[in-house]
């Protein structure tokens, strides 16, 4: 069988196996082992443990559990609510200050936690009831937080970007920087839509902000500033050339744990254990997929599938933008069903040679891919953030949350189009800080 038909067979088998309800990691191992046995014989399985171990034997991967601990420690406190309150108190003169501060808090919290559901839950718990109380439409209250929460995987530090960096051997530092301006662009688009939608709903009084005294504004700062300092410290350490992402993440994790204990009085050993337990569960789940995806991509290259697809695309006389459109469509559909980490790990070994052959920048592509994954987080049938919002505000119908989220999906599509038209939106900052990529 020629490698291209084999590739198609692998794709079909993977879809079938993953839809059976098997865990993603085990599914990848089953498909990889199955094809290795059929085409290379039983003895090929003896290499699997070594490949699995080898894939995980990478210091850069340590940043994943570290950033997850950092996020879990912050999520265990009321830092999200404080952040949103602080922004609201300082944005008194801005029309629609409440929804603007909610989205701003989502962006900032994303930068601290690196997790979309954690951002959604932390900001939404306070933000959604407050917006509804002040008369914002339910669709805006729920949709803005669901969409704002997805920023967690784009704005640095993002676990999704780390996984992409490891899967494609691109610089994690560059990837983090590439997410900043598109992240801010998305926040801006979300804000514009939220304000327009609220204004269009008829009651413009809703957009008026409360006024706060200077005392009220200043008293909230001590609860928020430590986290802001951590973000600045993490970014300084990483881009000042002081430490690698893993080292920076470890210090960030320790500092966030200390802040959770000292400032937010997380003294109960059980509460600290639950932070560790949740971080361990998420880290192990992601690292297992990474190891399994390593075995999967070994199978693809050992059967010459990856190389053949890249060569085939190279020979195709297709317009590169048509190709990019098709890739986006594929990612969008995959993101509807699978978690971002799984999509990246499965698709990266196949897509990377295609996009580099077609002349696209892998750093720029990471941002486009991540925004696609963000759309998956707020789209049916399995948009995780929709269910997080459903959990926080059970009296808002799932349908309202879903309909409320759709305009924000459109904002993300606009962002992808803008990125295609102006790749500098993603590439300018990493090139400025770290020099042109070689």
């Amino acid at each position: 069988m020629d490698p291209l038909s084999l590739g198609l067979l692998v794709a079909l088998a993977t879809i079938l196996v993953l839809f059976s309800g098997i865990s993603v990691a085990a599914g990848l191992l089953v498909v990889a082992a199955g094809f290795l046995i059929i085409f290379d014989g039983m003895s090929s399985l003896s290499l699997v443990p070594e490949i699995f171990f080898g894939k995980l034997n990478n210091f850069a991967l340590l940043s994943i559990p570290m950033f997850i601990i950092m996020g879990a420690a912050i999520a265990s406190t009321r830092a999200g609510a404080d952040l949103y309150e602080a922004l609201e108190r300082w944005l008194t003169r801005v029309p629609g200050g409440l929804v603007v501060s909610n989205l701003g808090a989502c962006a900032l919290f994303s930068a601290m936690s690196g997790s979309s559901p954690a951002t959604c839950a932390a900001i939404g718990k306070m933000g959604i009831p407050e917006m509804r109380k002040r008369g914002y439409p339910d669709s805006v209250a729920a949709g803005s937080i669901a969409a704002g929460g997805t920023l967690g995987i784009l704005i640095p530090p993002s676990v999704t970007m780390i996984v992409y960096g490891i899967a494609t051997e691109t610089s994690i530092g560059r990837l983090f920087l590439a997410g900043v301006i598109p992240g801010l662009l998305l926040v801006g688009l979300f804000m514009v839509w939220s304000l327009y939608s609220t204004w269009a709903s008829g009651d413009t009084n809703v957009l008026r902000s409360k006024t706060y005294s200077w005392r009220q504004r200043l008293e909230i700062l001590p609860r928020v500033l430590p986290f802001i300092f951590i973000i600045i410290g993490v970014l300084y350490a990483m881009y000042g050339g002081i430490a690698t992402p893993s080292e920076t993440a470890a210090v960030g994790a320790l500092m966030c744990l200390i802040i959770a204990v000292v400032i937010y009085k997380l003294w109960d050993p059980l509460a600290i254990w639950s932070v560790l337990r949740d971080s361990t569960r998420e880290s192990v789940m992601i690292l297992f997929i990474i190891g399994a995806a390593g075995v999967f991509s070994y199978m693809l290259s050992s059967l010459f599938i990856t190389q053949s697809i890249a060569a085939w695309i190279g020979e195709l006389d297709a317009n590169r933008w048509v190709l990019m459109g098709l890739i986006n469509l594929f990612l969008l559909v995959a993101g509807f069903f699978l978690p971002p980490v799984a999509v990246i790990l499965m698709a990266a070994p196949i897509l990377l040679p295609i996009i580099t052959t077609a002349g696209f920048d892998p750093i720029w592509f990471a941002v486009v891919l991540t925004i696609n994954m963000e759309i998956g987080l707020i789209s049916p049938p399995v948009g995780l953030n929709l269910y997080v919002i459903n959990g926080i505000a059970p009296d808002i119908k799932l349908k309202t949350i879903l309909v409320g989220s759709l305009p924000y999906v459109a904002c993300m599509v606009v962002a992808i189009i803008l990125l295609c038209l102006f790749p500098g939106l993603a590439l300018w900052l990493p090139n400025l800080v770290m020099g042109e990529a070689i």
Binding site: S23, S46, P49, M285, V382, N390
Partner: protein, 196 residues
């Protein structure tokens, strides 16, 4: 998560002492895994202190914490299985009637057990060779590799044990197939647990 169609958030033992024992073993492995991740945080911070504050070089830390993370991952597998934390897509199981759902669950558990068993078997040989030949990592620290490799057979062994317990629990109706509420259908919310 509100509205989830999952009946259970951790493995059910239904009073069966063996299943309970295996579940406890998985939980102990989870605690060890969490402690290893915490130790990795502490060691990395110590490494940074030595390198940037004391201006001295470090020898074992980078390699050591990577091995700790790998061991935490392997030993965490049974625990994450126990708490049903391995992410999956439940769409097809939710679309199936109870009998077909049970058959599919049996197939899924069987396939997972088979691949886990294969890695356990070859992982044991991989570890044994490193032990037998006294392999080292050829780095400045140069530790014996059988120590980090031990995590492979140990982790996958415990994972296979938890999978076997889950298969028994499903077959003897202690736990519903896929841990799904027997009445759950596709129209229920949260058909999938996802990362990120």
């Amino acid at each position: 998560m509100s509205g989830s169609s999952h009946a259970a958030v951790s493995a059910q033992h239904g009073g069966n002492i063996v299943l309970r024992g295996i579940g406890m073993l998985s939980q102990v492995a989870g605690v060890i895994s969490a402690m290893m991740i915490l130790a990795a945080v502490a060691i990395t911070c110590q490494m940074i202190f030595i390198r940037f504050v004391l201006n001295e070089s470090t020898i074992w830390q980078t390699e050591g914490v990577t091995y700790l993370m790998i061991a935490a991952t392997m030993l965490g597998l049974p625990y994450v299985q126990y708490v049903r934390g391995h992410v999956n897509v439940d769409l097809l199981p939710l679309m199936l009637p109870p009998a077909a759902r049970k058959a599919l669950a049996g197939l899924v558990l069987g396939l997972t057990l088979a691949v886990t068993g294969a890695i356990l078997w070859h992982g044991y040989h991989f570890w044994y060779e490193a032990w037998d030949w006294g392999e080292t990592s050829n780095t400045p620290w140069n530790p014996k590799l059988w120590v980090p490799y031990l995590a492979l057979p140990l982790g996958f062994g415990l994972y296979a044990l938890q999978m076997a317990a889950d298969t028994y629990a499903m077959a003897s109706a202690i736990e519903p197939p896929f841990g799904l509420d027997p009445d759950a259908t596709l129209t229920d919310s949260a058909p999938v647990e996802r990362a990120e």
